[in-house]
């Protein structure tokens, strides 16, 4: 039932490749950064900044903003430029997309995890008359990829405004819309930035029209920039300062802050990113977690400039880091409120809880690696409220983790119909419920037909169909979550020559006609292969699955029957006849090493298989099955 519990907590969910577990802990290698002399000449010795200096930045001189956009519209590049412009990083030093620190980010050129950096900027504003005060700006670069949108929502919780970046050639895309609404619902001031105007196909006027039509944004508000050539960049920070309000907190209240992010550093221990909402946080202060009640002493506090820079203090409205002797990131749940110890405070609203939207079963290929995997997952996920992990054991895959996947979906069904699946396994369940999502798809209009067809094949229900400009259509569908988990995005990209953009948010459960389909090998059910399918599709999927399995499973020393069954009713069946012979090489001239190598290879081959009963199943069978049952 752990799965069901997790599901009730259900939340948007991010899957990160395991490789990032180590990368995460490496995020803070700290090359000594030179403070650029033009930018912050008065800020003490390099690598540190005195708290009194930071105290100069009262909330009116602070702006906290995110950069949000569809994937690849240039958020990270724009962030680079702004960091350079303020002298926070040196031009031409460091790699492009400076804030993309994770290995996966560097490898794939995408942002996965939101990153914060503090900059200082002189600006003459109307309200300050002739002086040129220095402003403290916190920039949060966010991921554009649909799978990481949880990062966007938590970033927005620390901000009062957002730069909504739109590619001048591609125009508004699915995540532009999704992220706009995230910001809009959080009451943030939005500064539209039409980027990449240097491109030959750039059409900023069309983008302005789209912004007007879709978001009711006044075309005159849009800034035109090229993060590549630098054109128009000088307008960006002035617009931030003038259009985005300063943080609203109460300076004289006891300290209260929102825990935005946390990670484990080998040398420093747990590092928390926080937004100080009220009061001030000093080194040596005692703070408590609203969630756990535990108290800590602040050992180090400072800003991300962009590397950790100790200041000894953080004031109202500022964003920075805190090290407080937490032993594990488990103690630092993201979204928690940290506050002055020994007093009770109203916890901050936090932010939209994470929703589990991507599921994965993780199993070590070699059972003995279970502990190592367990450790790695813990490191990776425990600081991430968006990940829920359930240990499970599968007869086929051995001990592993099911990170809220189809299995827990079954549990949900069981909970709501206690008598149904559990006691009569496989009996048709009356009143099955399945989670759905609302999908937003934007496509050039010529692809509308195929996309509508795809959505209806996936049991989608159309909610909206509009044109956002002369060439582009927006489709909104309610789709069963199950239908989009596997392969939907790929197929969508496929039928639209890669032009479709896609976003989803989870929606309520809907009643549907679902059945649990078991796969049996020689009469024995293989739990990892059981799937929930729509009743009308059961027959077809069952037949396809057994045919596929027959191809994937190698002949073995005995006949294998492969069946798909609903309850006790077999709906499809194939027989894989026994292997007749395997190579009979002779041991030539006493040279048995060759023969032995062959046999050892064969042995290793068997080891990679998963054994159910007496049947060896290649790993790929599980992947293939998930694919076909998920998408059909």
């Amino acid at each position: 039932m752990a799965g069901a519990a997790a599901l009730r907590r259900s939340a948007r969910r991010i899957v990160r490749p395991l490789a990032t577990a180590t990368a995460l802990s490496r995020t803070l290698q700290q090359p000594e950064r030179l403070f650029s002399s033009q930018a912050s000449p008065e800020h003490g010795p390099r690598g540190a900044m005195s708290g009194s200096e930071l105290g100069l930045y009262t909330p009116e001189l602070i702006r906290n903003f995110s950069i949000i956009a569809h994937v690849d519209h240039g958020k990270s590049t724009l962030a680079d430029r702004l960091l350079e412009l303020t002298g926070t990083i040196q031009k031409g030093h460091g790699q492009p997309q400076y804030l993309d620190k994770l290995q996966v980010e560097r490898e794939r050129g995408i942002t996965v995890k939101a990153q914060t950096a503090t900059m200082f900027y002189w600006h003459t504003s109307a309200s300050h008359g002739p002086d040129t005060p220095r402003y403290l700006l916190n920039l949060i670069d966010t991921p554009g990829h649909v799978d990481f949108s949880y990062e966007v929502s938590r970033s927005l919780a620390a901000c009062q405004g957002a730069l909504l970046v739109v590619d001048a050639a591609q125009g508004v895309q699915a995540q532009t819309i999704a992220n706009f609404y995230l910001a809009f619902e959080s009451n943030l001031s939005i500064v539209p930035v039409i980027n990449k105007i240097d491109q030959p196909t750039a059409d900023p006027d069309n983008v302005k029209d789209q912004l007007k039509r879709l978001f009711d944004i006044d075309p005159s508000e849009a800034l035109l920039t090229s993060a590549k050539t630098g054109k128009g960049l000088e307008q960006v920070l002035p617009a931030v300062i003038e259009r985005i309000p300063s943080p609203p907190g109460k300076c004289d209240s006891p300290v209260r802050m929102l825990l935005l992010d946390s990670y484990f550093d080998e040398y420093k221990g747990v590092i928390c990113h926080v937004a100080v909402v009220d009061g001030a946080l000093h080194k040596g202060d005692k703070i408590a977690s609203a969630a756990t009640g535990r108290t800590y002493e602040v050992q180090d506090v400072g800003i991300m400039h962009p590397e950790l820079t100790p200041t000894g203090v953080l004031y109202t409205g500022q964003v920075g880091y805190v090290i407080s002797g937490m032993r594990s990131t488990k103690e630092a749940r993201i979204g928690d409120t940290l506050h002055q110890a020994k007093i009770t405070v109203e916890p901050l609203p936090g932010f939209k809880p994470a929703k589990h939207m991507v599921f994965s079963g993780l199993y070590p290929a070699d059972g003995s690696d279970f502990e190592a995997l367990s450790h790695a997952i813990e490191k990776l996920t425990c600081n991430d409220a968006s990940v829920s992990v359930t240990k499970e054991t599968s007869t086929a895959l051995g001990m592993g983790f099911r990170k809220l996947n189809l299995g827990s979906f079954c549990s949900k069904v069981q909970v709501e119909n206690p008598a149904a699946l559990a006691s009569n396994p496989g009996k048709r369940v009356v009143g099955c419920w399945e989670p759905t999502v609302i999908a937003t798809i934007i496509i050039p209009s010529e692809y509308v037909g195929p996309v509508i067809m795809l959505c209806s094949e996936r049991r989608g229900e159309q909610i909206e169909y509009t044109f956002i400009d002369a060439q582009r259509a927006l489709l909104k569908y309610r789709l069963p979550l199950k239908e989009i988990i596997v392969d939907f995005y790929n197929e969508l990209k496929g039928i639209t020559s890669g032009y479709a953009t896609f976003d989803y948010e989870d929606s309520e459960y809907q009643q549907s006609d679902l059945v649990k389909m078991d796969i049996l090998l020689n009469g024995q059910p293989v739990d990892a292969m059981a799937t929930i399918v729509h009743n009308q599709k059961a027959q077809r999927i069952g037949r396809e699955l057994v045919e596929k399995l027959k191809k994937i499973i190698d002949r073995q020393m005995f006949e294998i029957t492969i069946q798909a069954a609903i309850g006790s009713k077999v709906i499809a069946r194939e027989t894989l006849s026994a292997m007749r012979k395997n190579v009979l090489a002779k041991c030539y001239g006493g040279d048995i090493t060759r023969k032995k190598k062959l046999l050892e290879k064969q042995k290793e081959g068997k080891k990679r298989m998963k054994r159910v009963g007496s049947v060896d199943i290649p790993q790929e069978a599980f992947h293939e099955l998930l694919k076909s049952s998920g998408s059909k």
Partner: protein
């Protein structure tokens, strides 16, 4: 200290035949070897000193299309070896034999000269060993005798191909001490021989059989056949088996064609795809051989070996029993002091290696071999024989629990008939009895003494079954 044989040949005038030394009578009393159980006895501990030697004679007229052995194709440029063993000797052959003699001379007898046991078996393999002039074979055999000693009645085998010898040449070999011939016939169909790239035709096959069977003093000979050749039909296979049985060899080797990478067949064909037979057709050919040869009184004593009672190839038995043996020549593999070593497969590298051996910069290492490796070798070799795995001696060497795990692994296959368990009297146990035996677990009450793969179904799946066992021994 025995004199090295090396100087002998280096001073030989190239064309003159060497003096033929008197030798023990070449005729063996095979009758003594016949027992009521004409099976391979169980593997012995590998600690015994080597009493067998393999000598690789790599020369062939041309490379057969399925062959990936270390051979030297003499080609048509070679002076055609006269069937009489006279005429010009190819310098490549004499050079090679010199090298071989140097290797023999540089190889230390194990354990040492005085305690070493004399050789019981010598096997000249190839290549086409019969392309080497008999007098050179004699020289090599002399060198072996000089270095390691030869027992009273050793088994001395040589591989011969049709078309490479006549009666006189065979007599000369017999005179040199050879007493067993392995005739590489492979098929009895002209088309198939041609398709394989064999250097001989059907007429040469019949002639060779004629010469071998007519040869006085040669009682023990073997015939090689290959099944699953491209375009080979069941009828052709039946015909080959019939002709083989009619020729009455004492031993028959039946090899299932392997398509090896880098061979002509490897480029032309894909296993299991026409014109090669499917796995089930190929299994069928294997079963036919097993049936026909058993009917003709041959015992299927190893996956690819059949013999008349008492006519096992003693040299091969050495391999199957995991006993140590010397090896000499290009690409050959020896097993000495628990170490398996394969010599370089290229002539130049082999020559360098011999040089190092002579300089003492290379020596056969000795090491305590890994128990797991040893157990795998024993299982692999013994399960390929009809004698099977001796559970008691295995248990003694490698422990009861491993033996029990192996038995448990094989249990399901006893029911499906791929595996047979036998008691000390070699009576098969029923699956029920075996089950009881396993639950009993104590050694004393146990009836199970041998485990073997069934003929033909178990043999056909030997790779599967043995690799299963490997998974238990070395998970």
């Amino acid at each position: 200290m025995l004199r090295s044989a090396f100087p002998l040949i280096s001073h030989l005038p190239p064309k003159k035949s060497p003096p033929i030394h008197p030798r023990p009578p070449p005729v063996r009393q095979y009758a003594t070897a016949t027992t009521s159980h004409p099976f391979t006895p169980p593997p012995l501990p590998p600690s015994l000193p080597p009493a067998s030697a393999y000598v690789h004679l790599p020369f062939c007229r041309k490379r057969c299309h399925y062959c990936d052995f270390p051979i030297v194709a003499l080609g048509s440029s070679s002076p055609t070896p006269s069937p009489h063993g006279e005429g010009a000797e190819d310098p490549r052959i004499t050079d090679y034999v010199r090298l071989l003699l140097r290797e023999v001379a540089a190889t230390c007898p194990v354990p040492d000269v005085d305690d070493g046991v004399p050789l019981e078996t010598v096997f000249f393999g190839g290549g086409t060993s019969s392309l080497v002039p008999p007098r050179l074979v004699a020289v090599v055999l002399d060198a072996l005798r000089g270095r390691f000693g030869l027992s009273q009645c050793p088994e001395v085998s040589i591989e011969m191909d049709p078309g490479t010898f006549d009666a006189a040449r065979l007599r000369e070999l017999i005179g040199a001490g050879v007493n067993r011939v392995s005739l590489g016939v492979q098929a009895f169909q002209e088309d198939l021989l041609q398709a394989c790239g064999r250097a001989h035709g059907l007429r040469e096959v019949h002639e060779a059989v004629e010469i071998v069977t007519a040869c006085e003093g040669l009682q023990n000979w073997s015939m090689d056949l290959i099944s699953s050749l491209p375009n080979q039909t069941e009828a052709m296979w039946e015909e080959s088996l019939r002709c083989t049985v009619d020729a009455r060899p004492t031993h028959i080797s039946v090899y299932d064609l392997q398509i090896e990478q880098g061979t002509k067949f490897g480029q032309m064909y894909t296993p299991g795809v026409h014109p090669l037979p499917s796995d089930s057709e190929s299994a069928n050919l294997y079963k036919i051989a097993s049936k026909r040869l058993s009917e003709a009184g041959y015992h299927h004593n190893e996956i690819s070996s059949y013999c008349k009672p008492g006519y096992e190839c003693k040299h091969n038995v050495t391999y199957w029993q995991n006993r140590s043996f010397y090896a000499f020549g290009l690409g050959s593999a020896s097993y000495i002091n628990s170490v398996r070593f394969s010599r370089p497969r290229r002539m130049k590298e082999y020559a360098e290696w011999v040089q190092n051996l002579e300089n003492g910069t290379w020596s056969h290492e000795s090491r305590n071999s890994d128990m797991k490796e040893m157990a795998m070798d024993v299982v692999m070799l013994s399960l390929r024989t009809a004698w099977g795995l001796d559970l008691r001696s295995f248990s003694k060497s490698f422990g009861k629990s491993l033996t029990l795990s192996l038995c448990n692994t094989f249990k399901p296959f006893l029911e499906s008939g791929l595996v047979i368990v036998m008691d000390m009297q070699r009576q098969a146990l029923s699956p029920g009895d075996f089950e009881l035996d396993l639950q009993n677990k104590c050694d004393s009450g146990s009836r199970s003494a041998f485990i073997r793969l069934s003929d033909p179904d178990g043999f056909l799946l030997s790779n599967e079954l043995i690799s299963l066992a490997f998974g238990i021994i070395s998970p």
